[in-house]
């Protein structure tokens, strides 16, 4: 009886050991490392965007970084030229202009890592200077266009607004030709210029009028281009000057028209006359 009982105990012990050994193999699959470990199903993906500071003084050196990483819990920012941060989003002030590497390392809780790097070109924004437009055939000279072409008035034609101007060789204020507007007043000169919006300009020109009849010559600065109707063109006037100086038919008078371009990136110059023959010469424009 006693022996039988002992045998059963032995048998039980053996079975228990056998099970334990067997089960240990199963345990191994829960070991963290090794051939059987599972991949991270949602690995982190690092990403960021950035924007330059806008404002007075040195604010252009200040950059803000927006963290766009996914499936990550902790972060490490590194900025070339020194500087790290473990915040989610980062701010950094660069020492000056130049190319700087920025990298964001994103970690998840399993220690999986993703790195995203970018090189930032830090440039101080320049104060935009007003465009200085070029007035073509400004002095109504022959062959003054690019490539040596032009009859002195090609750039001033607009048949929808009026007839083409004539050219005179005497009197002139500059060069050897000037524009001539016969007394009938049915001819115009028109030219469009590209300008900076909301900028101050001064348009300078010279005119002279014959003295037989009362008359005038008007230079108008018009908003926008594409004018095809005289009345609507004149209604789009930004600024104008009506020259009526008839003290001499041969001496030119200088005029300056100051204007602000307002909400226009294109303006037009329109010249009209009435009553008496007029001569106009030597246009120039300057940004203030």
């Amino acid at each position: 009886m006693k022996i039988q009982f002992k045998n059963i105990i032995w048998l039980l012990a053996f079975v228990l050991i056998a099970f334990t050994v067997q089960s240990c193999e199963d345990f191994e699959q829960f070991e963290p490392a090794g051939a059987n470990s599972k991949a991270d199903q949602t690995p982190p993906m690092a990403s960021f965007s950035y924007s330059q500071g806008q404002g007075d003084g040195e604010v252009w050196k200040d950059y803000t970084f927006a963290n766009l990483s996914t499936s990550a819990t902790t972060y490490m920012w590194e900025f070339e030229g020194g500087g790290t941060s473990s915040d989610v989003d980062a701010e950094f002030t660069f020492p000056g202009e130049g190319m700087y590497a920025v990298s964001l390392t994103a970690f998840d809780a399993l220690g999986v890592v993703s790195v995203f790097s970018d090189v930032i070109n830090v440039v101080e924004p320049e104060e935009p200077e007003a465009i200085v437009p070029e007035i073509l055939e400004a002095s109504f000279e022959d062959n003054s266009l690019a490539g040596g072409s032009g009859d002195g008035r090609d750039s001033w034609r607009n048949s929808a607004l009026g007839g083409v101007i004539q050219i005179t060789s005497s009197p002139v204020q500059n060069g050897s030709q000037a524009a001539k507007f016969p007394s009938a007043g049915d001819r115009i000169a028109y030219q469009e210029l590209s300008v900076s919006p909301n900028s101050d300009y001064v348009l300078t020109y010279y005119y002279t009028l014959k003295t037989n009849n009362p008359g005038s010559v008007t230079v108008s600065v018009l908003a926008d281009g594409g004018h095809a109707d005289l009345a609507t063109a004149l209604a789009a006037k930004i600024e104008d000057f009506e020259g009526t100086d008839q003290t001499s038919s041969s001496n030119y008078v200088q005029e300056n028209i100051s204007f602000n371009t307002g909400a226009n990136s294109v303006i037009s110059i329109l010249i009209t006359n009435q009553g008496e023959e007029a001569r106009v010469d030597n246009f120039s424009i300057a940004a203030q």
Binding site: G53, D56, N67, V88, P128, N198, G262, S265
Partner: protein, 477 residues
């Protein structure tokens, strides 16, 4: 007996004949005569007029405390002002408090409410556009312009709040899942907004303040350009077109809000007090008058700014909550009397307020005009910009001549002028200051702001309905 059978046979034949005739299609599927029906409803321009009104009804939203109703613009302040440094909940309770702490969940009901409300507005606008064939030739462009203004307005709000969103440009049904659940890049959404607004400008006039108008479309397109940082000169021209349309600042700042449809209003959503067309946001902003214990209460941050920069506006911007004197309420859109401020009210039930919601007013356009001239730069001294800026400041009693406008100065001026009118968050984002300002604000108030909080989550309900086709915004799970 035989005779009877004969008769029965005849009768059978007769019954069969009748049965055959009666089975014509008309009889089995008659057009309903007592109810309206989408397929047959649009027969005349009057039907189209009803559909136009229906769009504004959608923006107006339902005045109810039912979470399942579409509350439209009545809940907009949660997603805009309360997500800025201007306002917060009084008691940090419930899902409304997720906004001020920048811990908005995709399951937030208000986020879903606004999303489905404004897609419903888009559906209503698309319904009008689908039936333009019944419009008379003389009114066609006006009706089309009105629907396209409303559609552009809805998309402009949605794209700024949610980022890439589905682009629905026709009437769709529940089966059209590809359109409903495909996110389209913001630049494509803005393309539609710009063409819709250009069409609206061409077709509309300035005959209404409670419906789409030419000036409203011009103002909105100017803001769309400024939001994208493009077309500054066009934006300036649009503002100048509005400035030449007869609007003017209301001399007394208080009357902007308490003299409805005054000269300053360009576009407002109308409400009628004590009626089904009333609103409840005014009551929610009070102490436990609406469903909440009080939301859209002012932050210390905005009060400091208003005290420093508000001039005459400060008095009519916030007030002490007399029930809880450490708290401060918004004064704009009060649904009750305030004798100290000279504000009267005729509403009997404050949760059925009649205060119109101002979407676009002239002061906003004047400041947009200055912003367009600034054109992304840091300062401007252009006289046209100074003139517009000065008009707004003069009305506030700040009459010292301004000789230069800076970006920061303009942003501050907009905050003081337009506080609690749902502009602040969009202004911060447009000026590129949102991350700076809100992370500092959030640190000071114990919130958890991240850059990804500048977009709301796509509502979880939409993602569930899409069976995972619709992706979530960064920073939300």
């Amino acid at each position: 007996m035989k005779n009877i059978i004969k008769h029965i046979k005849k009768l059978n034949l007769f019954v069969i004949a009748i049965a055959l005739f009666s089975c014509s299609e008309d009889f089995l599927s008659p057009a309903p005569t007592s109810v309206l029906n989408a397929a047959t409803f649009f027969e005349t321009e009057a039907d189209l007029e009803a559909a136009l009104i229906n769009m504004y009804d959608g923006i107006q939203g339902v005045n109810s405390t039912q979470s399942n109703d579409n509350h439209g613009i009545q809940v907009e302040f949660y997603l805009t002002e309360m997500r800025s440094d201007n306002t917060r909940t009084k008691s940090s309770e419930g899902e409304a408090a997720q906004f001020e702490s920048y811990s908005v969940q995709p399951t937030n009901g208000i986020v879903d409410d606004y999303y489905r409300s404004f897609y419903n507005v888009i559906f209503r606008a698309n319904t009008v556009l689908a039936h333009l064939d019944v419009a008379t030739p003389e009114n066609l462009s006006k009706i089309e312009g009105e629907a396209k203004f409303v559609r552009a307005y809805a998309y402009f709000n949605l794209v700024r709040l949610y980022g890439d969103i589905p682009l629905v440009t026709s009437v769709i049904s529940t089966g059209d899942t590809d359109v409903q659940f495909t996110r389209v890049s913001t630049s494509n959404i803005y393309d539609l907004i710009e063409t819709d607004l250009s069409t609206a400008i061409g077709g509309l006039d300035n005959s209404s303040k409670l419906r789409a108008s030419k000036a409203a479309a011009q103002s909105l397109l100017a803001k769309v350009y400024l939001t994208q940082g493009t077309n500054y000169t066009e934006a300036q021209q649009l503002c100048e077109a509005v400035m030449n349309s007869g609007f003017m600042l209301e001399p007394n700042f208080k009357n902007v809000f308490y003299n409805e449809l005054n000269n300053e209003i360009i576009f407002a959503i109308g409400y009628q007090e004590d009626s089904a067309d009333s609103q409840n946001f005014s009551a929610e902003w009070l102490n436990a008058v609406g469903r909440s214990s009080g939301v859209n209460y002012t932050t210390a941050d905005v009060r400091i700014a208003l005290d420093a920069l508000g001039g005459d506006r400060t008095l009519y911007s916030y007030r002490v909550d007399t029930d809880q004197p450490t708290q401060f309420q918004v004064v704009k859109y009060l649904p009750e009397e305030d004798t100290a401020l000279g504000i009267t009210s005729t509403v009997t039930d404050r949760t059925k307020a009649g205060n119109d919601w101002i979407v676009i007013r002239y002061a906003d356009v004047l400041l947009l005009h200055a912003e367009a001239i600034l054109a992304g730069g840091n300062t401007t001294t252009a006289q046209a910009a100074l003139d517009s800026f000065q008009l707004v400041r003069d009305r506030a009693g700040l009459t010292t001549p301004v000789t230069e406008i800076t970006r920061q100065g303009l942003l501050d001026e907009r905050r003081a002028e337009l506080a609690f009118e749902n502009h602040r968050l969009f202004d911060l984002i447009r000026f590129g200051e949102a991350q700076n300002v809100l992370s500092a604000f959030s640190t000071a108030t114990g919130g958890s702001f991240n850059a990804t909080d500048l977009l709301l989550p796509i509502p979880q309900r939409e993602i569930n309905l899409s069976l995972g086709q619709l992706s979530q915004n960064q920073g939300y799970n």
